[in-house]
Symmetry: C2
């Protein structure tokens, strides 16, 4: 079997993608990961598709220059609006979070699927497109939840305020869908409040786990060769490392967050 | 009297500065205003001082190139962390929001002053410095309120969730200060919820009104010559004009928001 010791690149606008990194590290303990949080330009979720594409391209080219063997776009907003641009620009296999999430939801056999995400993700229609491509007969309801990201970053995972916000946003889903896709990597820490708001019969799909499945499939069919060493992760951010560390410790107490601050060059095509 | 028909430049990371624009338009109906919302890089409030300085400089130089006669830094985060850099780089009088807000609070004769703002504004210590420079004997309590900006942008001005968040953040101020400075241009729309949380004996200082006072003083002493025409405002944003318009209509139903999308050049010194 071919071995490829090069790192797997992961990028997100900020810390949300760490939920994806954590899932990948658990599933692929021998891989090395290079994570880039583009904190100088976060959030992506309220920006235009053109701007998100420009920022995503810049982050992807930066990781490519660091010799990655595959790229995980761990941000739902970037995956929803910029994946074709990124795939066109980089020379390694690219995994977004939308298609794996859609696949996991459809695999549960649901007829009514809910999607929550940032304004940009919901406006893009990427999830409905991905779901319908897999299973045209599914009914889809999507809802932006702009306050979930700041609530997660404040560490109010199961705060009464978060429960009230969840009840307000998620009323249309309560006992009305069979599956709800958490279409933003910031949402998994809010799972308890979300479950409480949608009721006990709605199953949640966490795209971090779905991405690990997608990478496993790529290794199985030889598109990405595995590493053989004992794995590690290197974390880079473009700004405000102290804030990132504080929130990362809150979101993912088990992940080791040693950070390096980097500047992204401006690429001619980005 | 000298007349100067050139516009007054105003910049903010996004829409918050519109509360300052509205106050200036009411007070100076003959002036022309050129407003720049740097929405491609918002928010500034969670970024590092170095990054805020770089972004602020870029926005200020852009407005300077458009022939302004004075510059209002209508963003508390930029005023708190980047004002010296901006003052050094531009050749016209500069007005920040911090010093006028501090002056207005001290003028009320308070002995205990509260300050709320973004993480970056509070971490900078700019308000305590400005207040102490005017009146050393004042006691100052500062508190970041990260959820207030997204709540204002969601239009939940007087929502039960906003009242609960305000009660949580503002408990230290309740009947414990005489004056509370709204140290973020996003906060005035949340006034009712804030007043309810701090109690009836705490007076709120809105820096938008304080900035109008500061500009009036600059006109009175001849540092900024007035215009004589019937005024107007031109609004520029660097991204996501549709989102800006929607939220601007929510925050300031009376302001005419016709927008132009612009790209900021990268200046060698910015």
């Amino acid at each position: 079997m071919t071995i490829d010791p090069r790192p797997i690149g992961i990028f997100d606008s900020g810390i949300g993608g760490l939920t994806v990194l954590a899932a990948l590290q658990r599933r692929f303990p021998r891989e090395t990961f290079l994570y880039l949080g583009d904190t100088a330009r976060l959030p992506y979720g309220t920006k235009s598709p053109e701007t998100v594409a420009r920022y995503s391209l810049r982050a992807s080219l930066f990781l490519l220059e660091h010799g990655i063997k595959a790229l995980v776009v761990a941000c739902n907003t970037a995956s929803s609006t910029a994946l074709p641009v990124v795939e066109h620009a980089v020379t390694v296999p690219v995994i977004g979070v939308v298609e794996p999430g859609a696949r996991a939801a459809v695999a549960l056999g649901a007829h009514r699927i809910g999607v929550i995400g940032t304004e940009a993700t919901v406006a893009s229609g990427a999830y409905p497109r991905a779901i319908t491509a897999l299973e045209p007969a599914v009914e889809i309801v999507a809802q932006p939840c702009p306050l979930f990201v700041p609530l997660a970053e404040e560490g109010w995972f199961d705060h009464p305020v978060t429960r009230e916000v969840a009840r307000t946003y998620l009323a249309p889903f309560r006992n009305a869908v069979e599956v709800l896709i958490l279409g933003c990597t910031h949402y998994p820490p809010l799972k308890l409040a979300i479950e409480d708001a949608v009721g006990p019969h709605v199953r949640l799909v966490d795209s971090a786990l779905a991405v690990a499945e997608a990478l496993a499939a790529m290794q199985a069919d030889g598109r990405v060769a595995p590493a053989a060493a004992s794995g590690s992760a290197r974390l880079l951010v473009t700004d405000a490392a102290a804030r990132f560390s504080r929130i990362a410790r809150l979101l993912l107490p088990d992940v080791d967050v040693s950070l390096e601050l980097v500047d992204l060059p401006t690429y001619p095509s980005a």
